[in-house]
C-alpha cells in the first residue's frame, strides 16, 4: 500500500514537471504589465481622492501629490517601453492580415 502511494506521488511529480516540455503555451499578454502599471496609478489617485474627500489633504497638496504620481508612473511607463517590446493587438492583427495577403 505504502509502495503504491510513493509510486503514485513520484509519477504525479514527474508528469507535472515534464508536462511543460510536452505542451508549450505561447499565450502571454504582453500588455498586462502596462495595464497593471496604469491600474496602480488609478489606485494611487483613488487613494488621494479619498484623502481629499475626507478632508485629510488640501487642494494644493492634492494637486502636487497627483503630479508626483503622474511623474512617477510616466517614468515607469517610459522605462517599460524601453525594456519590453509591446505588441499591440491591433498591430498584431494588421501583421497577420499582411501575412495572409502575402501567402
Amino acid at each position: 500500500m505504502l509502495y503504491l502511494l510513493i509510486i503514485l506521488i513520484l509519477l504525479a511529480c514527474i508528469i507535472y514537471v515534464v508536462y511543460p516540455f510536452i505542451y508549450q503555451s505561447e499565450h502571454i499578454d504582453q500588455l498586462l504589465y502596462e495595464k497593471n502599471i496604469k491600474i496602480r496609478k488609478k489606485g494611487l489617485i483613488s487613494e488621494l481622492n479619498n484623502e481629499l474627500a475626507s478632508g485629510i489633504l488640501s487642494n494644493d497638496l492634492y494637486n502636487q501629490l497627483k503630479d508626483d504620481v503622474d511623474e512617477m508612473i510616466d517614468s515607469e511607463l517610459k522605462n517599460l517601453n524601453k525594456n519590453i517590446k509591446i505588441i499591440d493587438p491591433i498591430e498584431k492583427l494588421i501583421q497577420l492580415k499582411k501575412n495572409e495577403k502575402n501567402n
Binding site: L5, I9, C13, V17, D29, N36, I39, S75
Partner: protein
Amino acid sequence: MTISSLGFTLLILTMNLCVYSILGSLIGIKISSKALLKSAKNASYCNLITLVFSASCLVYAFITRDFSIKYVFNHSSLSMDPIYTWVAMYAGNEGSLLYIALVISISSFLTLFFIPSELNEAEPYIISILSGFLLFFVTVMIFLANPFDTFQNIPKDGRGINPLLAHPGMFSHPPLLMAGLATIVVPFSLILGMIFTGKFRNDGLDYIRTTSLLVWSILGIGLLLGSWWAYTILGWGGYWAWDPIENVGLMPWLIMTAFIHSIIVQRRRGMFRVWNVILIFLAFVLAQFGMFINRGGPVVSVHSFAASTLGYIFLGFMLFSALFCLIIFILNNHKIKSDNNVKSFLSRESAFLMNNFFLVAITFVTLWGLIFPLISELFANETVTVGAPYYNSVNGPVLLALLFVMGIGPNLSWRNTSKENLISNLLIPISLLFVSFILLLFFSARPIISSLSISVIVLVLSTILIEWIRASYKLTKAGTPWHISFIKLIINNRKKYGGYIVHISILLVAIGVIGINFYQIKVDKVLSVGEKIEIGNYKIELIEINENEYNDRREKIATFLIKDNRNKVITTMSGNNTFYPSFNMASIRAAINSNPIEDLYIIPSDFINESKMKLIVSINPLVWWMWVGGPVFVLGTLISLWPYKNRND
C-alpha cells in the same frame, strides 16, 4: 515499506525537486527556455505535495504512537493526551525542521501561484531563492536531523511531551513564530528577484507589501501568544522577560515593522528604495540568527525547545546569508536609486523615517544585549548577564519616542505640511497630551515616565479618533448617515484605516505594559492553610493544598478563596506546581482572576509541606487589554490586507 521510510523517501524526493527547480530556473533564464522555466516552477509546486505527505507520515506515527521512530518516542507517550499530537510534531528539533520545511513549501506555492505579472521576469530568480532556502532545511533533515530515524528495538512507551508545551497557547505560539521567521524569505525573495532583473522600482510593490504584512502579522501574533503563554504557565509573573528566544523573534518583527512602513513611502513617493532593500536583508539575516539561537546557539534560554547540536550549521547559514546579502547589495546598489528625496522635515516621509530609525535602534539595543555576554566571555573571559533592567531602561524611552511619532506622523502631509495644517491637525491631540500629562502628574504617585507614557497613548488615540471623526463628518455632509460614512471611510481606504486599527492594538498592548510595569503591587509571602493575606482590595485565604500522583507527574494544587474589602466572596482560584520526573522539570501555573481593570495573579512558587506554601501575589493593572490587543491586531491586519478588485491578471 514502513511509514518512517515513506516519510524519509519523500524528503529525498523533495531535495531532488529543489535542486531541479533551482537549476531549471537558472538554466532556463540563461538559455531563455520557457518550457524549462515552467517545469522548474512546477517542480517547486511539487515540493508542497511531497512535504505534505512527509509531514502526514510523522503525524500518523504520532497518532498510532509508533515508538519505533526515535522522534515519536522522545516527544510522546501512551499517556499523552491525543489533543497534543499536533504540538508533539514540532516539540523537538527534527519535527520543527520538518514543520518549517512544510511552511516554506506552502508559502512558496502561494507566492508563485498568486504572483502578479509585474514580477514575471523576476519569477525564476524568486523560485531559485525559495527552493534554495527549502533545500537547506531538507538537506539538514536528511543528513543531520532525520525526523524519521528509527530504533532497532522498539520501546514500549515514549518519554512524553515536554510539560511546558502542554498548554493551549502551544497550539499556535510556536508554529506561528516559526512560520513568521521562515516566511520572511518570501518578501526577501521577491525583492531579490527584482534586484536581479535590475528593476527594483515600484512594480510589484503591492504584492511585496501584502506578503510582508502577512509575514509580519504571523510573527506578531506568535509573539503575543508567547507572551500570554509565559504569563499563564511559566509563573514568572511576567509576559516578557527579554529572554534570548523572545528577543530573536522580536528583532525580525521590529525590522519588518520598519519595512512595512517604509515600503508605503516607496509606493506613494518612489523613495527609500535602498533603505527598503537594507531592511529586508536585515530582517532575513536576523530571522536566520533566530533559527541559530533557537537550535543550540551559545546563549542560554529558559525555553528553547528545539535545542540541538546543529547550532553551528545554522550559524554557518546565517553568515552565508549575511555575506550573500552584502555582496548583492554592493553589486546592485547603483540600480536602486530613489526618484525623490525628503523635501521637508515636517512631512509624512520624514515621520516614517523617524519611525524606522527608532525601530532599528530598538533592534540593535536588543541585539547588543543578546550578544554582549558572548563577546564578554570570548574577549574578557568574564560571564556577564544582561537582564530586563538593561532592556527596559534603554528600550523604554525609545519605545516612547516611537509611540510619539505614531501620534504625530498621521497629522503630517506627504511632501510638506503647511503651518496652518500642522496647527489645525495637532492642536487637539497635543492639547490632550498636555492636559492628561498634567492631570496624571498631580493625581498619580507613580514615576513621571508612566504619566508621560499614558499621555502619549492619549495623543496617538486622539489623532486616530479625530481623523476618523473629521473624515466621517465630511462624508456625512453629503447626506450619508454617520455610521455608514464611517464604514465607507474604512472600506474606501482599507490600507490606511486597517493600519490605524493595528495602531490601536499596539496602544492596547502598551496600556498593559504600562499597567504591569508602573502600577503593579507585589507581595511575597509564606502562607499556611487557613491563613489570609491582604493585597489591594483583595483578601486571599489559602483554603487547601491537594497533592495528586499521576504516571508521569506529581501535581500540587493550591486553592484560594478570594474576598473583597467588605468580606464579600469574589471567587475561588487554583494554581498548581507540577513536577515531571522523566523531564526533571517543574511547571508552574499561576492562578489568575482577570478583568479589564486588573488581574489578581497568584504564583504558587514553592510547597514547603502539606499545609504550608510560598507564594507570590500581585495585582497587575490593565493587563487584560494587552490580550484584547491580539484580536484587534488581527482585525486591523485583515482590513489592511483585504484586496481591491482592480487587477487585471
